[in-house]
């Protein structure tokens, strides 16, 4: 064994190297305050290792970036753990950088002859910020997409060359494949390469000038190994433990729903370390100017630039008698500024109900897309297609946009917001279900808010007269017959939530069908049911509430199959070209509770 090591040493001189590396003199002995540089090196090592593994599964293009991250997060062995470690280590790196900077400034380690080393440190800090910014976009989810878009749009306000700078970053005029390719090349190639080169220089210069001890020295000098290494490795272990704890606690990094340039995303926020800039920008409106430049340029570039400039100048300012105190003041003001604006940003969000609602909706959609991807697999056009073709996602939006000015869904506009004006048409939650029909045929409810109130049918329709006069007088036997009619009519819809019930009560359904057509129940005096009706002026009951029926009805309610000339105010959404067939289908599927996955809500009487 010893022979082998001797052989290796004669050829490589590794013992001398190890000796040099481990026997660096630590003036005044090991101290915990010296650990930050080592923890940062460790954090960077973690990012390189986890980053390489992520690289083997990640795919940068606008149809595959989110999809591959979804696959890492939800399908691959330990993928969530890996992403979580990479994500939280990135957060810790930012934190450790600030701690390292604080220790260096407070201990005066930036002073001559260590200026150059201090500057390489500042450049390293900027490069790590660059890693954070580029990495945030790579999952291509709504959060990263919109937050990064803000960052690159800020680049565009650079005087004179702004638009070209933005195109360079974005890889074109708009976000797309090349944005991801560029960001990925920067994130996994250019920036890490620069960082490694600078870390080597940084450590070389650190070793050249030696450690700047905290005065007064408490103990006699000691070599780096083992006391300081022990402190360093314990600190690294603490970082690792914190990262693992956060990863397991939150089940890894968040993955929002796929980026959709067409979909407004109100919950867009940067990561916490850029939150102060986000908040700062609100106080610098681009509409006002100062010294010929608009305030946004001041807030987003000049002020942060001046701050960084002051930090860069610290070693020179430090030569002045009061320089060190001045630098400490700059550091304190900078950190205070960072703290106050970060806090302001989060405090505003915490008090902002529409932000909270947007966040909840975003979380909900993020869960839904994962469910869809698992159920159906992702088509080549990308995961966004799944959401765009999902009734559960699109139905409420379409309802809110096109239907909710008259109709309600369980009392709201489909998206959970109360309607502005009182409804002027029926509440469509559970439309064509047994409960919904029972309400319609209830003398007490037919002209209530949820049905015909404020429609022209409330006052002078035969339907209302029939329910309020005839049904109100029904005896027990007739009421039993009416219940069967309701069962049969509801079965026409074939609602997914009622399938089991309809099959189990097949006898009642067929009895009800016979009654529905029978003259005693008087339905077919106005409505058509299966058979030909020579004078139709009321909605056809054949296939009532089925997908086809709803699409046809919404296409044109004034068609002779439905209300004919008696149609109240409902527009012909299909015939007039407002909605295409696919959109009508989404709306119909949503109203019918017909979508893959997530159990459809059992219809209930509104």
């Amino acid at each position: 064994m010893r022979f082998l090591f001797d052989w290796l040493d004669r050829r490589t001189g590794y013992r001398r190297l190890m000796h040099e590396a481990l026997n660096e003199n630590v003036p005044g002995g090991a101290r915990w305050r010296y650990v930050w540089g080592s923890t940062l090196t460790f954090a960077f090592f973690m990012q390189v290792v986890t980053g390489f593994a992520l690289w083997m599964a990640y795919n940068p293009s606008s149809q595959t970036a989110w999809e591959s991250v979804y696959y890492i997060q939800h399908e691959m062995w330990g993928g969530w753990l890996l992403r979580g470690i990479h994500h939280y280590t990135a957060q810790f790196m930012t934190l450790l950088l600030v701690l390292h900077l604080m220790q260096v400034v407070i201990d005066g380690a930036y002073k001559a002859p260590r200026e150059v080393n201090f500057w390489t440190g500042i450049v390293l800090l900027m490069l790590v910020m660059g890693l954070s910014l580029t990495g945030y976009l790579l999952p291509w989810d709504q959060k990263g997409f919109w937050a990064t878009k803000v960052a690159t749009n800020i680049a565009a306000i650079t005087p004179v060359i702004g638009p070209e700078v933005q195109k360079l970053f974005v890889g074109g005029t708009d976000y797309g494949h090349h944005t991801l390719s560029r960001f990925f090349a920067l994130h996994a190639g250019v920036l890490p390469a620069l960082i490694i080169a600078l870390i080597i220089g940084h450590i070389y210069l650190f070793r050249r000038h030696g450690l700047t001890p905290k005065q007064p020295l408490r103990r006699r000098d000691a070599p780096f190994w083992p006391d300081q290494v022990f402190c360093d490795v314990v600190a690294c272990l603490a970082v690792l433990a914190a990262v693992l704890f956060l990863t397991v606690w939150t089940h890894g990094a968040e993955l929002g729903s796929p980026a959709d340039p067409a979909e407004q995303y109100e919950a867009a926020r940067p990561e916490w370390y850029f939150m102060f800039l986000f908040e700062l920008l609100k106080h610098f409106p681009a509409s006002k100017t100062f010294l010929g430049l608009n305030l946004e340029v001041w807030g987003a570039m000049i002020l942060p630039g001046l701050m960084v400039g002051l930090v860069v100048l610290m070693p020179l300012i430090g030569n002045w008698k009061l320089g060190h105190r001045f630098n400490l003041g700059v550091l304190a003001i900078g950190l205070g500024f960072f703290g106050v604006f970060t806090w302001l940003g989060y405090a505003k969000d915490a008090a902002n109900d529409s932000f909270k609602a947007a966040k909840a909706a975003a979380d909900h959609q993020a869960e839904r897309i994962v469910e869809l991807a698992r159920l159906k697999g992702i088509p080549q056009s990308g995961a966004l297609t799944l959401l765009r073709e999902d009734p559960l996602t699109q139905g409420p939006r379409l309802f809110a946009q096109h239907c909710a000015s008259c109709h309600r869904y369980d009392g709201h506009d489909g998206l959970g917001r109360p309607g502005k004006d009182p409804s002027s048409a029926p509440d469509l939650k559970g439309f064509a279900s047994r409960e919904w029909l029972a309400g319609l045929l209830d003398p007490a409810r037919i002209v209530g808010d949820h049905y015909f109130a404020r429609t022209r049918f409330a006052e002078r329709s035969r339907m209302v007269r029939f329910v309020q006069n005839d049904v109100a007088e029904f005896d027990e036997a007739q009421k039993a017959m009416l219940r069967k009619v309701i069962v049969a009519l509801s079965a026409e819809a074939g609602l997914p939530a009622q399938t089991t019930l309809d099959t189990a009560e097949a006898t009642a359904v067929s009895e009800g069908r016979a009654l529905l057509a029978h003259e005693d129940m008087r339905c077919t005096e106005c409505h058509k049911f299966r058979e030909y009706d020579e004078d139709p002026d009321s909605p056809d009951l054949t296939g009532y509430g089925s997908r086809e029926w709803i699409i046809a009805f919404v296409t044109n309610p004034a068609h002779e199959r439905f209300y004919g000339e008696r149609n109240d105010r409902m527009p012909a959404f299909g015939s007039d070209g407002t909605l295409d067939a696919a959109t009508l289908g989404l709306l119909a599927d949503w109203l019918r509770g017909d979508w893959p996955g997530s159990a459809a809500p059992m219809p209930s009487a509104p």
């Binding site: 691959m76 330990g78 890996l82 470690i85 190994w225």
Partner: protein
């Protein structure tokens, strides 16, 4: 640099050793954990199975499209495939040679060479299958034709079924190239 090497550390020897040992162990822990998380993901492909690897019957051709002269004809095989996160419906997943024998039976051969997986062509002049990569020759019924053919086994025969008198259904499977025996790709 003037400090003595660690082995001659003047501190209390027992405490010094414990600290060095602990530092070494902890360094190993913090060094290995991130790598372990990465290794899991890197080794994920090992658990993946090929969809349709069991060889469910697929409709490949109709009887009328096969010449009665016993010359093999190449057909693409369509099936559903999952490629990581993407699900593809009815895409080409391979090719087979179908041949109508004199007694009106159908035989099917997987078109990939059992040697190294290249795609085999049929030469009607020679009446042989020829692999363009390493010059393996096979007879029309699939057997190795020449002693110099590097392929370890004959072309892979696949089960064929004729349904409704004219639909040719093939149990399409791939086998690992390079082996004497047929080992299904799973």
């Amino acid at each position: 640099m003037q400090a003595p090497p660690s082995s001659n550390d003047p501190g209390p020897p027992r405490r010094g050793f414990l600290k060095q040992f602990a530092t070494g162990v902890l360094s190993a822990v913090v060094g290995i954990v991130p790598g372990l998380a990465g290794l899991l993901v890197v080794f994920d492909p090992v658990k993946r199975k090929q969809m349709g690897g069991a060889g469910e019957p697929l409709l490949v051709a109709r009887f009328g499209s096969l010449p009665a002269d016993g010359v093999p004809r190449r057909f693409q095989v369509f099936a559903d495939r999952v490629d990581a996160w993407n699900t593809y419906r009815n895409i080409p997943v391979g090719a087979v040679y179908l041949r109508r024998t004199s007694d009106n039976k159908i035989t099917a051969l997987n078109a990939s060479c059992p040697h190294a997986g290249c795609s085999v062509g049929f030469s009607s002049e020679k009446g042989l299958f020829l692999c363009p990569c390493h010059d393996s020759f096979f007879l029309v019924e699939g057997k190795i034709a020449t002693a110099s053919s590097p392929s370890p086994r004959a072309l892979d025969a696949l089960d064929v079924e004729v349904r409704n008198a004219e639909e040719i259904w093939v149990r399409f499977r791939n086998f690992q190239p390079g082996h004497k025996e047929q080992i299904p790709v799973a």
